[in-house]
């Protein structure tokens, strides 16, 4: 297996060129640039807001310098608050081809689209010569998320992902789980898995913050005593989601854009810090996937019971269907049928190994269902974070 060698020492499993709008007003022009390259690895990202935001800048910097990204074209209207000069300099510092088009300076829609397409064509020619390097499991970063969950998620797809996570960690990969709002009730169990004593209270604090944030937002999906689908307690419901993390020690906590410093299992804290503002911690699964990718995820394992169809810009999404009936209905969108566990046709161990094998296939250049179907979803909205505390990462 080989990967694309990057100057920071990381390696990519894709060689994507990203076109990035820096305000919603530049979205159409950026999309038109991308549309000329259907079938190529040219993906659209962006941030809609006109006001600057430290989190959004950091997200786009981490995404544009992600190991799966080879080149980046920024598309600015010209008057928005995003610091396009800094972002461009940060991308160029990594040696990647990078450019900026400012619509107000270029002379309008048509001229900017034409110049953008010309720039991308040049970048694609340059990327054809990207050096390759040996790629091992220990070069991989893998994230996981659950979406469209039902009563089967926590007994099939999620524990199977947990098994795959254990195998990945055993082989030296970095793996990341998240959704602290759906870990309420698991904090003590999680804290007991902390790799260092100082990390345990930080893990608990993450979940407490999530509970506080969701409560303020009036979000009702964390109600206790919900007996639907056989769930008896909130702890049980959370454990279903938590089982995606497997059984490795927890090496650290990340916030969006933090890259795990070494092999192991990490918790990504996606809930904003400080007073509640900007809205819900996650407006959809898509932004969470983007946050996992900003932490370096080459691949995301997405478990679903009801059936999601999404993929992502930059990094492939492997969809693992928990419910055998959903799988039959949406099989074209699924990569792994974990519902077989319910039917007695496979064990968690077998599906866990299948997921692990699928990750390696995708890393070696195989394509996920969502890639084949053209899914390249992306979403980024305002958030605020404080830097990680000193106990959060291994020394």
């Amino acid at each position: 297996m080989t990967g694309y060698a990057r100057t920071d020492g990381r390696k990519g499993i894709r060689n994507v060129t990203v076109v990035v709008y820096l305000v919603e007003c530049a979205h159409h022009v950026a999309r038109e640039v991308v549309q000329a390259f259907r079938g190529e690895e040219v993906h659209l990202l962006g941030f809609p807001g006109c006001y600057p935001n430290v989190y959004a800048h950091r997200m786009l910097r981490q995404l544009c310098t992600h190991p799966n990204v080879g080149a980046a074209l920024l598309v600015s209207l010209g008057c928005e608050g995003f610091n396009r000069a800094d972002l461009l300099a940060e991308i160029r510092a990594t040696g990647r081809p990078a450019g900026t088009l400012v619509i107000q300076e270029t002379g309008g829609t048509r001229r900017t689209i034409a110049e953008g397409r010309e720039w991308i064509a040049g970048a694609l020619r340059q990327l054809a010569d990207t050096p390759r390097a040996d790629f091992a499991v220990s070069d991989l970063t893998v994230g996981t998320i659950c979406g469209g969950s039902d009563a089967t998620s926590g007994i099939t797809a999620n524990p199977a992902v947990g098994r795959a996570f254990d195998l990945l960690v055993e082989n030296g990969a970095r793996v990341i789980f998240e959704e602290t709002g759906e870990l309420i009730g698991c904090e003590q169990i999680m804290a007991a898995r902390a790799a260092r004593p100082g990390l345990a209270p930080e893990l608990i604090a993450c979940v407490e913050k999530a509970a506080r944030y969701y409560t303020t937002m009036g979000h009702g999906s964390f109600a206790p005593g919900n007996a639907e689908g056989g769930l008896t307690t909130l702890e049980e419901k959370s454990m279903g989601a938590y089982s995606k993390s497997g059984s490795s020690p927890i090496s650290g906590i990340l916030k969006p854009g933090d890259v795990p410093p070494r092999a192991g299992l990490y918790l990504l804290d996606v809930v904003p810090d400080g007073e509640v503002r900007w809205g819900f911690p996650n407006i959809s699964d898509i932004q969470e996937i983007g946050e996992l990718i900003a932490c370096g995820a080459h691949v995301t394992l997405f478990t679903t019971g009801r059936g999601s169809v999404v993929g992502s810009a930059i990094s492939p999404v492997i969809k693992i269907c928990a419910n055998p009936e959903t799988y039959r209905r949406l099989s074209e969108d699924m990569d792994v049928n974990a519902g077989r566990i319910l039917e007695g046709a496979a064990t968690i161990e077998e599906v866990g190994r299948e997921i692990y094998g699928r990750v390696l296939d995708i890393a070696a250049g195989g394509r996920t269902a969502s890639e084949v179907l053209g899914h390249r979803e992306f979403s980024l909205v305002y958030k605020s974070f404080e830097p990680l505390g000193p106990a959060c990462l291994p020394g």
């Binding site: 109600a223 005593g225 056989g230 307690t233 566990i341 319910l342």
Partner: protein, 107 residues
């Protein structure tokens, strides 16, 4: 180890004292739990739980290898394990509100 061989019940972790129903069980059907045959008292849908062995009142309910609550009374092997005989051990940081919302305790 005496694993239940009933294909309609799933043990998620070796430490678990509950099994998950993975095919709907109708009232009157019998299931094999820990070597014993137990009659199903009432219909159990996919995702519900039965006791893998006799569980004493106050004993922790373990699923996924982790405690998910405590038995409020004695539960016999094969019996339905749910809100009628289990309560949350939810950590004291959070309190259960009347309206089924978790409320964060004042710092």
């Amino acid at each position: 180890m005496n694993e239940p061989t009933d294909a309609r019940l799933l043990r998620l972790h070796s430490a678990d004292n509950v099994l998950t129903v993975i095919a709907t069980l109708e009232a009157g059907e019998t299931i094999r739990v820990g070597g014993d045959m137990v009659a199903v008292a009432a219909r159990l849908a996919i995702g519900h739980k039965v006791a893998a062995r006799d569980i004493a009142a106050g004993e922790r309910i373990v699923k996924y290898g982790a405690p998910i609550g405590s038995a409020t009374r004695a539960i016999s092997a094969g019996e339905h394990v749910h809100t009628h005989n289990v309560q949350s051990d939810y950590i004291p940081t959070f309190a259960r509100g009347e309206g089924a919302h978790y409320e964060h305790a004042q710092p």
